[in-house]
Amino acid sequence: MSDARKTQAAVQTTGHAWDGDIQEFNNPLPNWWLWAFYATVVFAVVYWIFYPAWPVGGGYTTGVMNDITFVDSDGTEKTMHWNTRALLLKDLQESKSATLSHEYLEKVKDADYQTILGDAEMMAFTRSMAVGLFGDNCAACHGAGGTGVIGLFPNLADDDWLWGGTVEDIQTTITNGRYGFMPSFRETFNDKQLDDVAAYVLSLSGQHKADASVARGKAIFQTSTGGCYYCHGHDAKGMKSQGSANLTDQIWTIADVPDADTQEQKLAAVKAVVTHGVQRTMPHWSDRLDKTQIKLLTVYVHELGGGQ
């Protein structure tokens, strides 16, 4: 290997001189660069032939020999030119993880609730599928963790169930929706009576000492004067069929008692519920989710906190 330095003929200039003697070399482009550039042009043309490329009239050139076959959203098999939407659908149907996922979905579809709850792998699969479903459908109201919004949407992560916490109850709730209704007692009671009922209700969960107000409230609650016991029951533990709250436990879904600082605020919170009543709806999901998806969500919600 020699170290010779070659010289070549003087490099040509562009021929123009600025300011008398400033000239510019006209060096040729490096060959490797030039041929790489030509290669990119060839590549581009080949690309136009095999992939969608040019807008033409009202449409576009779709490329040749690039068909993708997939199952469309309405269940029919479709073959069309290369496009990323078809690629995605095909991947969702045929990829390795999609196939595995379908396998497990079939297993869950055929199994009953007790089987699923007792099988660790089915539970793990159910949870991961249901987290996505919950996020897409339920979290808008009930929150990402299912904790709900006090005053509006119940907390699904605790062990208190307005409409029943068995898997059958939860499935019914999701499938058919629920209508939570408590009448407004604004016109039935006067202000003092409302105070008394609020005091009695607070005393049921140990948040108000027993005094004359509580006794008066009890008389309203447990008799036909107020008739509260019709829905909440004489034991005030609520009725599954009515969706009425258990007033004796520490869980509040509408009156914000846990975050109230003073006794007056607690009383005011409960009084507001009795005064205005409750009218809230949970939509039904039978039209939007199929039975297997509802099954997955049921198991998920049941296991969130304390299914029955």
Binding site: A120, M123, D158, D160, D249, Q250, G305
Partner: protein, 473 residues
């Protein structure tokens, strides 16, 4: 225009036609090449029985995040072993290069191995050095086209088989090779094979010694690790040149006595050492950056000296110190230091690999919500237990909790779970604690998984935290 502006700084490749040679180092190199090729080309086909997993002995299953090396299954979280391995490789390089010079370059590097094979193909098709030079100078007639085409076709075949074999390490070889040729392999398989084919063909067939001289960073920093004791290939200047220099054999300069009388060295300037050099240097000019320490020039000179009946070793492995007549040492602070650190790294890696835990658990807190108040006033925290069974057999586990007096663990019906071999599981666990208002903030505890079958595995614990609401109750 000044001269420097007209100078072309690009040095086009000067073609090298290495001549064949026989000798102990050539034999050693062929031996190493055969061994290396056997391992590389045959290993993907070696089968291994496993209870759970593919039946290929060496398989890097990226899709399932497991590397199989005979009985060892490397999971994604064991990737730091690769760091350890690279560290050991680097230390080994520093250690060996300081002592033995560029032996990796000359004997083991895949650039050298494949270039050797390509040169062999060239020699078989086109002939030895003189024939090849003549062929290149001849006009493009039918014979030349045929020979050149055949050479390149054979090169491409070897390159293709190299690339395909490389791909076979990443999936089950018998299946993948069928899929590859029927068009059903994943795109990555085709891309990898084609890429390795292209680079093998270009590097070993076209670029050759330019890789060593210009491209390889390894070759440059190996030189930095040399010292005066390092083994190098050197020409004995004193012996070869004498006082008057080297000279070809003539009637007056035929025997050793004649040559010594006239002060002429033992080197007969036959040029054999230059002709066999794969990087095209003249070792008689001293150690050069292109020298890959392949020792073919030693074999060449020894052959000539042997046929003359003179002493061999005119070109030999030596060190700078030895060439000056001093003694060179191997045991000195640098080599001892590298050796000890290398030993420590190997021991640490070996210990880590052999002590791979059979069962692993990590606890992930469910943070949405961090805690839930229950109807009786107690607080509940949720966790996801990620449990991995790294053994070859299924195991049944009981899930328990300890460290929170009065707390209850609720895993639904999954208090006892079975995990298959090489499989992992996520279990949703809830912990309920009625701590009363005197406890606030957070408390640490631990989850335990206890094998109910295969008691030799032992209990595994993982820490967890229980969060309670703040000052408001």
């Amino acid at each position: 225009m000044t001269d420097s502006a007209n100078e072309v700084l690009y040095q086009a490749r000067i073609p090298i036609y290495p001549r064949s040679v026989k000798g102990r180092f050539r034999t050693l190199k062929w031996g190493i090449l055969t061994l290396a090729y056997s391992v590389y080309f045959l290993l993907p086909w070696l089968r291994w029985t496993r209870n759970a997993g593919p039946d290929q002995a060496v398989l890097f299953d990226i899709a399932n995040r497991k590397f199989y090396l005979f009985d060892l299954v490397m999971h994604a979280e064991d990737l730091f072993w690769l760091t350890g391995f690279l560290l050991v490789a680097a230390l080994l390089l520093f250690f060996v290069t300081g002592i033995a010079g560029r032996v990796f370059c000359g004997y083991f590097c895949f650039q050298t191995l494949w270039t050797d094979l390509y040169l062999l193909i060239e020699r078989l098709v086109q002939g030895d050095r003189v024939a090849r030079i003549r062929l290149d100078k001849s006009p493009w007639n039918g014979a030349k086209v045929f020979r050149k085409a055949l050479t390149h076709i054979l090169w491409l075949t070897v390159a293709f088989w190299t690339g395909l074999t490389f791909t076979l390490y990443w999936d089950n070889a018998p299946d993948l090779i069928v899929k590859w040729f029927t068009g059903k392999a994943p795109f990555a398989a085709y891309a990898t094979t084609l890429f390795i084919t292209a680079t093998t063909y270009v590097m070993a067939g076209l670029a050759r010694e330019q890789v060593c001289t210009y491209m390889c960073p390894y070759s440059r920093f190996q030189s930095v690790m040399f010292d005066a004791d390092t083994r190098i290939v050197a020409y004995d200047v004193a012996r070869g040149e004498g006082e008057a220099g080297r000279h070809k054999v003539t009637r007056e300069l035929k025997t050793l006595e004649q040559r010594q009388q006239q002060g002429v060295g033992e080197c007969i300037d036959c040029g054999y050492c230059v002709q066999v050099c794969p990087t095209g240097i003249d070792i008689r000019n001293g150690l050069q950056v292109q020298c890959i320490s392949c020792a073919l020039c030693i074999d060449a000179c020894d052959t000539i000296m042997g046929s003359l009946g003179w002493d061999q070793g005119l070109i030999r492995y030596t060190s700078e110190k030895e060439a000056k007549g001093q003694k060179s040492r191997i045991l000195k602070p640098k080599t001892i230091g590298y050796g000890l650190v290398l030993l420590a790294a190997v021991v640490a890696l070996g210990w880590s690999v052999s002590n791979q835990a059979p069962l692993e658990m990590a606890v992930v807190q469910v943070r949405q919500p961090l805690f839930v108040r229950l109807s009786d006033g107690s607080v509940q925290n949720s966790y996801e237990l990620h449990i991995e069974n790294k053994t070859d057999q299924p195991v049944k586990l009981a899930i328990m909790m300890r460290g929170l007096a009065g707390a209850a663990l609720d895993v639904g019906k999954l208090s006892s779970v079975e995990i298959g071999p090489q499989r992992s599981l996520r279990v949703h666990a809830r912990v309920r604690w009625k701590s009363g208002s005197r406890h606030k903030g957070s408390r640490s505890f631990q989850f335990n998984i206890i094998p109910q079958t295969r008691h030799e595995i032992g209990m595994v614990s993982a820490p967890a935290t229980f969060y309670m609401p703040g000052s408001k109750n």
